[in-house]
């Protein structure tokens, strides 16, 4: 049986890499993907807890997190397309002002 802490450690590593990616990356789509990575890291720890404590609630939360992630993907990519249409660029530094 794999200890729970191994899963939590992997989750922490993935979340940390996601945080670092969001800070380092300049491309909106890459930052978006790093956020997805962070969501997945949290999902992993939820599933690990759910599986070890024999409680299905954690996996229900994961299900809902995935739904929210799908909605976020739709809206986020819509925003990215709208910004790209205005600025002709995906660099976040080019879109630091909300005014057109």
């Amino acid at each position: 049986m794999i200890p729970l802490s191994w899963y939590l450690a992997l989750s922490a590593v993935l979340f940390t890499i996601g945080v670092a990616g969001v800070i380092i990356k300049r491309n909106v789509i890459s930052m978006f993907m790093c956020i997805e990575l962070m969501l997945n890291a949290v999902n992993l720890s939820l599933v690990a807890f759910s599986s070890y404590f024999r409680d299905a609630a954690g996996q229900l939360f994961v299900f809902i997190v995935m739904t929210v992630a799908a909605a976020e993907a739709a809206v986020g990519l819509g925003i990215i397309i709208a910004v790209f249409r205005n600025r002709e660029s995906l660099d976040v530094d080019d879109a630091s002002v909300l005014r057109n």
């Binding site: 802490s5 191994w6 940390t16 890499i17 491309n27 890459s30 599933v47 995935m66 909605a71 819509g78």
Partner: protein, 247 residues
């Protein structure tokens, strides 16, 4: 005889190796998936081409699906592959292709202290998590529950939970998705083809003179026509087929 003598210990060694492989199959599988997930995540952060980032992220999702299977959560593993690796990443790749994104330019970062800041913050975050893990580790309630059968992750149990105890969050989720659909359509809709700075003269078409056949090169003074037919005759395109009609 001597060949059999030397073969026997080797067979014994092989049997021991296979036995260890079977005993530690979980751990080895976890190790492989761990390395795949972390490697793909590092690749996600270090790649410059967003398309390669997307492929790395798909590998992270797939290895996480494998870990969910290892945790006896087959439903979540299937949803992970279908929703994340399938739907969301297809959407991301579609947007990357649609916007025709090239590599990130290697221009100097506007904020030079950003990468050291990111690494420092990540290290602090990881230290916090490691601290918590170190002290929570020997709480050990999982040992108390380890004897119970692992059927929490089965689809029937999740469905039962979803439609009884957690029915309200489930319904709120559907409203959320409806809002996301409306929001995405509103955001991505092309409000108008013209930019706010463009000046429009109704019914007029303005061409630079050097666009006309036979005109002197570099003559940028304007020719103004008022109908498509006039513009076609000015350009010498009267008998040319329309692009629409060719398609």
């Amino acid at each position: 005889m001597s060949a059999a003598m030397t073969l026997n210990p080797m067979l014994g060694l092989l049997a021991a190796a296979v036995g260890a492989l079977v005993d530690y199959a979980d751990e080895m599988l976890f190790g492989v998936l761990f390395l795949l997930a972390v490697g793909a995540a590092v690749s996600l952060v270090t790649q410059r081409n967003p398309l390669y980032c997307a492929i790395s992220l798909v590998f992270v999702f797939l290895s996480l699906a494998g870990l969910y299977l290892l945790l006896a959560a087959p439903f979540i593993a299937a949803v992970q592959v279908i929703v994340y690796a399938g739907a969301i990443m297809v959407l991301v790749v579609f947007v990357i292709m649609l916007l025709n994104v090239e590599d990130e330019e290697r221009r100097p970062l506007r904020l030079r202290y950003l990468i050291p800041t990111a690494i420092t913050l990540a290290a602090v975050l990881f230290a916090e998590v490691a601290f918590i893990l170190y002290f929570v580790h020997d709480a050990g309630p999982e040992r108390a529950n380890a004897a119970a059968p692992a059927n929490t992750g089965l689809t029937a149990n999740i469905g039962a939970g979803l439609f009884t105890t957690y029915l309200l969050p489930f319904e709120i989720t559907s409203v959320l998705i409806l809002m996301a659909i409306v929001g995405a359509i509103t955001l991505a809709r092309r409000a108008s083809v013209l930019r706010p700075t463009d000046v429009v003269v109704p019914g007029a078409q303005v061409l630079p003179r050097h666009a006309l056949a036979g005109a002197e090169q570099g003559d940028a003074s304007a020719v103004i026509t008022h109908t498509t037919a006039e513009a076609e005759s000015a350009l010498g395109l009267t008998n040319a087929p329309h692009r629409r009609e060719r398609d």
